[in-house]
């Protein structure tokens, strides 16, 4: 198992772990924006940059890598807050703050890095989307891929194909739930759910009529996992009641 040093703290991590996990184990905080434990690391936000030194290198020679997706190799030394690391993070946050000047998460992180306001030109049309791609990655991960990033450079954004209601979307709200800045709008009621301009019919409990997921969600997950569709057709409260009644009957007298 690889042994490495993070800011002077030596840790041993599992084979295949990344530097970020090693840092967590060492008790060293590295800021992140596009990292989510349930998804593969992506290295998109560039906030988790660290300096890396490998045995055999000149003592003053370092390589800057993203901690989230760089393997924790044996013998390396990692430095998470050298002046050039902090300066790189500050530029990343400065640019994000220019793009998203009103976003609480970015403002807080920027303030923590000594940036009360952006030094670049403030985006005349402020957005909350930081392009971390967590939404598109979670959508890919569940096998739907209804949204993706479109265009390049300053015109880059997250959108469904051709800005039309996405036919593949199942209305699961995973994108909206995982979004660190809550910038994906949706509405959801007992009758209908709307996200990305698409309306979804809700699946109602066969016993009590309460809606819990969309019909498209039930179809998708039944086909993807083999969990029978009938499991979704009753709400959790009615299922629990039924389960308790069956148990009481089966064990009557015992």
């Amino acid at each position: 198992m690889p042994n490495l040093t993070i800011d002077g703290v030596t840790v041993e991590v599992e084979e295949g772990a990344y530097i970020l996990q090693a840092a967590q184990k060492a008790g060293v905080h590295i800021p992140t924006l596009c990292q989510f434990d349930g998804l593969e690391p992506w290295g998109g936000c560039r906030l988790c940059v660290v300096d890396l030194w490998r045995p055999g290198w000149d003592p003053d020679w370092f390589k800057m890598v993203t901690a989230c997706n760089h393997p924790a190799e044996d013998g390396v030394k990692v430095f998470t807050s050298t002046p050039r690391v902090l300066e790189t993070r500050r530029v990343v946050l400065d640019l994000l703050l220019a793009r998203c000047p009103e976003t609480a998460l970015i403002r807080r992180l920027a303030a923590e890095h000594g940036l009360p306001a952006t030094t670049f030109v403030r985006n005349p049309e402020p957005t909350d989307c930081i392009l971390c791609a967590l939404c598109t990655r979670v959508c890919d991960h569940i096998g739907v891929s209804a949204i993706s990033s479109v265009n390049r450079g300053v015109g880059r954004e997250i959108a469904p194909p051709f800005h039309q209601p996405p036919p593949d979307c199942i209305g699961c709200l995973a994108c909206a739930e995982v979004c660190p800045t809550d910038c994906i709008p949706f509405t959801s009621s007992d009758r209908q759910r709307t996200i990305w301009g698409q309306d979804f019919e809700m699946l109602r409990c066969s016993q009590c009529g309460r809606a819990h997921i969309t019909v498209a969600q039930a179809d998708h997950w039944a086909a993807r996992t083999g969990v029978p569709r009938s499991y979704y057709e009753t709400c959790d409260v009615c299922k629990r009641l039924h389960h308790a009644e069956v148990f009481a009957r089966l064990t009557a007298g015992g």
Binding site: G38, V178, V227, Y232, C235, A244, E245, G253
Partner: protein, 155 residues
């Protein structure tokens, strides 16, 4: 040694001590209405404890989009990893027993994790309706409870 969490429905007197133990063990500030074990009260001193069955081929694990539900190899329980959960509630919809409990206060699902291999409800159960026993003992039919000593008439 594989341990099994065993529920003997016939021995439950619906006293609710397991619910209280659970509420306090899991940082729910003693809210018995939001515990991971619930008693369906069927009559005077008659109850059915309802708790996660830790299914081997679990529907909740199959539908979790972010691998937030993982089998704990040591305890055999399905654990919920809070950092990975995106609150999509597919597990709540998929569990055929209705045992994934949505907690609107903490905005996450609550599920039994066998307290990491030492279920806190077990020592509080006064009648042995809840036990944590080696796998080979789990199939032994429980002794019927002598209900003549109880206050109610057990109907």
């Amino acid at each position: 040694m594989e341990m099994i969490y065993k529920v003997s429905v016939g021995r439950c007197i619906a006293c609710g001590k397991c619910e209280l133990a659970c509420a306090f063990a899991h940082g729910s500030e003693g809210r018995p209405a939001r515990t991971r074990i619930n008693i369906l009260r069927r009559g005077v001193e008659l109850g059915t404890p309802v708790v996660c069955l830790q299914c081997h081929d679990a529907a909740c694990v199959a539908v979790c989009p972010t691998e937030a539900l993982v089998r704990n190899q040591r305890t055999g329980a399905v654990d919920m990893v809070r950092e990975r959960c995106i609150q999509c509630r597919m597990c709540v919809a998929a569990c055929p027993f209705g045992n994934m409990l949505w907690d609107p206060v903490y905005n996450c699902v609550q599920k039994c994790d066998l307290c990491g291999g030492e279920p806190r409800c077990v020592p509080f159960c006064p009648t042995g309706a809840l036990t944590y026993v080696p796998a080979e003992e789990a199939a032994v039919r429980p002794e019927p409870l002598d209900r003549s000593v109880l206050a109610g008439d057990g109907r």
